[in-house]
């Protein structure tokens, strides 16, 4: 009797395995630099992950709060060893680690966010968040009474500098005398530190606080002082309902869905993707109740121009803080220029150090 059962099992097992293999799901892994509850950068990626988890034939997992450096290399390696087919690393500092691991696992697809290196099985991607930043700058410039805008910024890297520049250009398009004061916190996520930095800006007369940070700390500081604020990453209005004007936000779902489909169909190729408003990867959060209809209309009109490709934001003549013209009249800054941007436009008070 036992032998018969054993034989049946031996016959059934391989076929079961075969059917399992045919149904093998695409394993997609995500690595976040901060906790998913940060209501910011990682939270936006996590929302997209949950959306693609719902897709057929896809299973996902994630590791949060992974420090950049050797830790991230280990985590990416672990995912690759656990037969993940597609791995998204969502912070600039993961770049070299991911490249190192990509060389060891040629059959896995690696996608790095906000970097610039690629390999045969590694691509990078980012979003043209500077487009809604420009729009948010317009709102800030219109709503500010003092014309002094405060910006709590993380690290002096091109991505952040570009955002500050776009914000300033937007603010100055509405109020040519507006200035943007920048404070560096040297961290992506530290609610207490970010709040203190915002307070220091409020102390020098800023009456709209914007941020390139992953927590709502600066929003809370603005609300406490009774001034306005611009959020980032996600709609932060629930943290500061009286202060929050709007925010440049991410919507990674359409892009992630596209990459997952490409990998599933086998049509994925390494590239440096930089989608924007037109593709729906970045957007402006809904306006707060305090924004008057005139401002809303002006911003919406500009938004439509950007989506149509008529407004390129970094169109010359644009001068730096010293007055030197960096983008000549009539020229549009190329992507490479934008990706390596390390100078501030006129109107920014602060250094890129």
């Amino acid at each position: 009797m036992r032998i018969i059962v054993l034989c049946i099992m031996l016959l059934v097992a391989p076929t079961a395995c075969l059917s399992l293999a045919a149904e093998r799901e695409l394993k997609v892994g995500f690595i976040y630099v901060s906790p998913v509850g940060d209501a910011g950068w990682s939270h936006a990626h996590e929302q997209a992950r949950q959306a693609i988890e719902a897709l057929d034939g896809v299973s996902t997992s994630y590791v949060e709060a992974v420090a950049e450096g050797p830790d991230s290399e280990r985590v990416i390696q672990t995912m690759a060893r656990k037969r993940f087919d597609l791995i998204f690393a969502t912070s600039f500092g993961y770049m070299d680690s991911m490249l190192k691991v990509a060389r060891q696992f040629p059959n896995t697809v690696f996608m790095h966010c906000s970097g610039f290196k690629t390999a045969a099985n590694m691509g990078n991607y980012f979003g043209r968040i500077y487009q809604p930043r420009y729009l948010s700058g317009m709102v800030a410039g219109a709503m500010s009474k003092t014309g002094v805008l405060g910006y709590v910024a993380a690290f002096p890297i091109p991505e952040v500098i570009r955002g500050i520049n776009a914000f300033t250009l937007g603010a100055r398009s509405v109020n040519p005398q507006a200035t943007v004061r920048v404070v560096w916190t040297k961290t992506w996520y530290d609610p207490a530190k970010e709040k203190e930095a915002a307070k220091s800006l409020l102390d020098v007369g800023a009456d709209v606080i914007a941020q390139h940070q992953d927590s709502p700390g600066p929003q809370e500081a603005a609300q406490e002082r009774g001034v306005y604020s611009i959020g980032y990453n996600t709609d932060m209005s629930r943290f500061a309902p009286k202060a929050h004007l709007t925010a440049p936000v991410w919507n990674w779902t359409p892009y992630y869905r596209q990459v997952v489909e490409q990998v599933q169909k086998g049509t994925w190729k390494p590239s440096s993707d930089w989608p924007g408003l037109a593709e729906g990867v970045v957007d402006l959060a809904p306006f707060g109740p305090m924004v008057p209809p005139a401002v809303r209309e002006r911003v919406q009109a500009k938004r439509a121009e950007i989506v149509a490709g008529r407004e390129r934001i970094f169109t010359g003549p644009i001068a730096d803080q010293a007055g030197t013209v960096r983008i000549p009249a009539g020229a549009v800054a190329a992507d490479q220029e934008l990706l390596g941007m390390n100078w501030f436009v006129q109107g920014v008070v602060g250094t890129t150090e």
Binding site: A67, E68, G69, V75
Partner: protein, 350 residues
Amino acid sequence: MLRVVRRPASPGWRGALVVSGSALLALAGSLLLLGVQGVSPLAGLKVLVLGAFGSAWAIEDCLLKAIPLFLCSLGVAVAFRLQIWNIGAEGQFALGAIGATWVALSLPGLPKVVLLPLMITAACLAGGLWGLIPAILRQRLGASEIIVTLMGNYIAILLLEFLVYGVWKDPSGFPMTPAFADAALLGTIGSTSVNWGLVHCLVLGAAVWVLFRFSRFGYELRACGDNVRAARYAGLPYDRLALLVMVLGGALAGWAGCIEASASLGRLQPSIMAGYGYTAIVVAWLARLSPLYIGLSAFLLAALRVGVEHLQLDLQVPAAFGSIIEGLILLTVLAGSFFLTYRLVPARRP
């Protein structure tokens, strides 16, 4: 009722028993906490153990993470033995990395066999200097070494950022130095992913152990650590020892910084600071300042971190969980140590 009575004898093997027992208790408690979250404690334990020890590359990962931790802990322990509370391992680690980077970037053309020892020497000198400054301030001005070393950490990290954002910045514009030349990279042992830093650790650990056990220096350390006044009356050179242990501690932490910059990252960037200096204090304390136990504690703590990553990946446990376990372990060991020095005796009725 119970009375508290001081134990006459020294802990000995009891120490290890209390520490491991407390740690296991903390681990069990944390796993039960997982149960409250909806994750099966047994599944959690399995993922934790298998993730940390279940395969060759898992062990390699633990060793890789333990290497800088071990060296920093060794440095901290050397100073703690003299009851000089060196909280500055983090800053000394940073200075070591800076020293090694300076050599690597200035002299890239040298062959590996010359360049690497030079980098290590520079790292030890830089780290040793960072340990010497608080020691001198303590001696001459009576400044608390706890405060000075702690503040020194912040200064060191800011110095690292200043260099990486400034003179040493990579042409790409991102806050990191250019990649080191191949000659400046500490290689891996054979086909494993573990770098030669492991051998450095074993050699240095053994050297420090011999130093503690069999040398005059070790004897003087023990005497001065137990009772400063008596040692001074006996003519032991306490002041010189104080400076020496801080330099040695700084040099060891600096060596760890060199290994991290050279082997793990291949360049200098702010994310080299992974909190090893602060965790080293926990490890040194848990290991009761003995090099052998430091090795064990460093490995186990590294294994815990690696295992927790697997918990995150397989069971979607939040990242904060790892910190919870570590904190619980320290608390229970602290509480358990009470029983090393005291015991409870039924009070006699008069």
